[in-house]
């Protein structure tokens, strides 16, 4: 019967893959469970982790849910990761509280947990490899102020107000403006979920409500693209500062449509997470935060080798 043939060949193919997967039982195995998977940012983190795996001769896997709202799917992934009896674990929590019981299990099994990116709101991880988002957003604020002559109205489009990155980038920008630039007013802070379309609509509303607005800050790739599109559709010339890179944002910075953007070091985040896990297994003491670095780039410096290396498509 045709069907049993197809099912049988499918089973053989999976068995082959399984053998390949199961053959390295002796190697140190470190699964990374991330907040997302298909966005280029996460793929850049994955490439850093894969590079570290090659350099340090350990086995690494990388997975994350399709959207950052799928908290329960991430818990399922964490469950499966623990079932594979890893030596260490890398984790970026979508919701720290939901993950705590599983992290406690890892701790009980003496599996060191290395948090990365947003980290985990808990003292179970031995360290967190992340960008200092508050300082990075503060730098964006400084650049924005310089570009609008230290006075005027600005607005911010953030991806969310629940994750560490959302909160830190918003506060970093807003607080810096408040502290250092009394003549600049942040007239609006809105949340677009990192969705391009939503952020575009939000930007258009902000521009309509504030005809004298001079600049806008998009706190992640999706938000920044939304700000760009919104300003273009409204035909308004404002100073736009973005975050992260991606093909569209890079092109906008290169052409000058976007004044500049903050880039993290996603490859560094992946690399340092695996590196920290290996160090933890050797018993080395680790700092509470491993700062993986950030830069401000605009069309003048984006081709410098140091900057270009951390920009991804």
């Amino acid at each position: 019967m045709k069907i049993s043939h197809s099912i049988r060949s499918l089973a053989v193919a999976t068995a082959a893959m399984a053998l390949i997967g199961a053959s390295n039982a002796q190697e140190v195995y470190i699964p990374l469970v991330s907040k997302g998977f298909q966005h280029q940012f996460w793929q850049a983190v994955k490439s850093g982790a894969d590079q570290a795996a090659k350099d340090l001769k350990v086995k690494v896997t990388f997975e994350g849910p399709e959207t950052e709202a799928m908290v329960d799917k991430q818990i399922d992934m964490l469950n499966a990761a623990l079932a594979k009896k890893p030596q260490a674990l890398g984790f970026a929590a979508l919701d720290s509280k939901a993950a705590t019981p599983l992290l406690k299990r890892a701790q009980a099994a003496k599996i060191p947990v290395v948090a990365f990116d947003s980290g985990v709101d808990s003292d179970i991880p031995v360290t967190t490899a992340t960008t200092d988002n508050i300082a990075a957003a503060g730098l964006a604020a400084d650049k924005m102020a310089a570009l609008i002559g230290n006075e005027g109205e600005v607005a911010v489009v953030v991806h969310d107000q629940t994750s560490r990155t959302g909160i830190d980038r918003r506060d970093g920008f807003v607080n810096r403006i408040k502290a250092k630039y009394p003549k600049i007013k942040v007239v609006s802070v809105q949340y677009g979920g990192g969705d391009h379309l939503k952020s575009t609509e939000i930007t258009k509303s902000i521009l309509l409500a504030n005809p004298k607005l001079k600049g806008m800050f998009g706190a992640n790739e999706g938000s920044a693209i939304g700000v760009l599109n919104g300003a273009k559709e409204m035909k308004r010339k404002i100073v736009i500062i973005g975050y992260d890179s991606g093909k569209q944002q890079k092109a906008a910075v290169a052409s000058g449509e976007m004044a500049g953007a903050i880039t993290q070091n996603p490859v560094g985040i992946g690399y340092k997470t695996v590196e920290a896990a290996v160090k933890a297994l050797k018993g080395e003491k680790l700092p509470k935060i491993i700062d993986t670095g950030f830069y401000y780039y605009d069309k003048n410096n984006m081709n410098d080798p140091k900057i270009a290396a951390v920009l991804y498509d």
Binding site: A22, A69, V71, N79, K84, K97, Y191
Partner: protein
């Protein structure tokens, strides 16, 4: 005598369930042989836990699909009910059982709305529930203020899904309550489907709605009732997921309807309506979660996991179509 016994044991419906069950067993045997990590208690519990929510949503969908309708709003309705429970327990400070009632009532109410739009306004179920899906997604975000609602100040709430009544009596079998809820619900749903008037009319609506209407049955009333029941079941799903995460996550839920429908279809229920079983749906839900979990345990790259799951869904439905043609 043996002829009739043989005929009864191996009639089409039983064969359908046996085929699905056999596939599930084959998958489990395969993964157990491929990796020693698969067949551990912790992993089995993880699979059960991962199936609970999808299984409950799939049970809700089974009823609607048998009537030859479809319910695309089950995912966001689940989230909406979770948010309502959150509001009742945290912002209004009500005890847990009031929260449970809130979930069931909001689910039933929104299901009723879907049913009314489908039956009275004559909007096709696909469109009606698509609209409800978006409406409920937005309402969840509006009511929650786009922030998760945490149940940390509502003691005992997490026990609904994460506690283990079975484990209390038999410590070596730490099956979480979410799974117990799934099985009890499956039993109840099966009873409703096979032994009540509502169940009979569910099949009748799917087989020949016109004939039912012409024989004087109040078709609209029964349609609305079925959607209301499906909505209430989504309320239970909302309780389970909220309890599992100890929070109501308002952005979650969209997309979960496809997993639920996939489980129903793998389990042998036809999208054309008129036939289906709860047992088939449960087996379908388990086939999906065993497959996902097993592929993860085998370190199959994430990109390939969904390729394989999709392929299996298509093969499963095709196998069912072939079998039906022979029967």
């Amino acid at each position: 005598m043996f002829d009739t016994l043989y005929a009864r044991l191996f009639n089409s419906a039983t064969r359908q369930k046996l085929l699905a069950f056999a596939s599930l067993m084959a998958l489990m045997i395969f993964f157990s042989l491929a990796s020693p990590n698969f067949m551990q208690t912790d992993n089995m519990v993880a699979i059960l836990q991962a199936t609970a929510v999808n299984g409950i949503l799939a049970i809700a969908c089974t009823f609607v699909i048998i009537t030859s309708g479809i319910d695309l709003s089950v995912g966001t309705l689940m989230t909406f009910c979770a948010v309502m429970t959150g509001v009742v327990c945290t912002m209004l400070g009500m005890p847990v059982y009031v929260g449970i009632l809130a979930a069931l009532i909001s689910g039933a109410f929104m299901g009723w709305v879907s049913g009314m739009v489908t039956a009275k306004l004559k909007v096709p179920p696909f469109i009606a529930t698509l609209g409800m899906m978006m409406l409920l997604k937005g309402l969840s975000l509006v009511i929650s203020g786009t922030k998760p609602i945490y149940f940390s100040d509502t003691p005992g709430f997490d026990l609904i899904a994460q506690g283990s009544l079975i484990g209390y009596f038999a410590p070596s079998v730490p099956i979480p309550n979410s799974v117990l809820i799934l099985f009890l619900l499956a039993l109840a749903a099966s009873g409703i489907l096979n032994r009540t008037v509502l169940g009979r009319y569910t099949f009748a609506l799917g087989s020949n709605e016109e004939a039912l209407r012409l024989s004087g049955v109040n078709v609209d009333f029964w349609k609305v009732s079925i959607y209301t029941l499906a909505g209430a079941i989504c309320g239970i799903a909302g309780l389970v997921i909220a309890s599992r995460l100890n929070s109501a996550q308002p952005a979650l839920g969209q997309g979960y309807e496809l997993d639920a429908i996939a489980a129903v279809v793998i389990g042998g229920t036809s999208l054309a309506g008129g036939r289906g079983t709860i047992l088939g749906t449960i087996i379908g839900a388990f086939i999906m979660s065993v497959l996902t979990n097993g592929l993860r345990i085998l370190n199959v790259a994430q990109e390939w996991q969904t390729v394989l799951t999709g392929a299996i869904i298509i093969l499963a439905v095709y196998a069912d179509i072939l079998r039906r043609r022979k029967a």
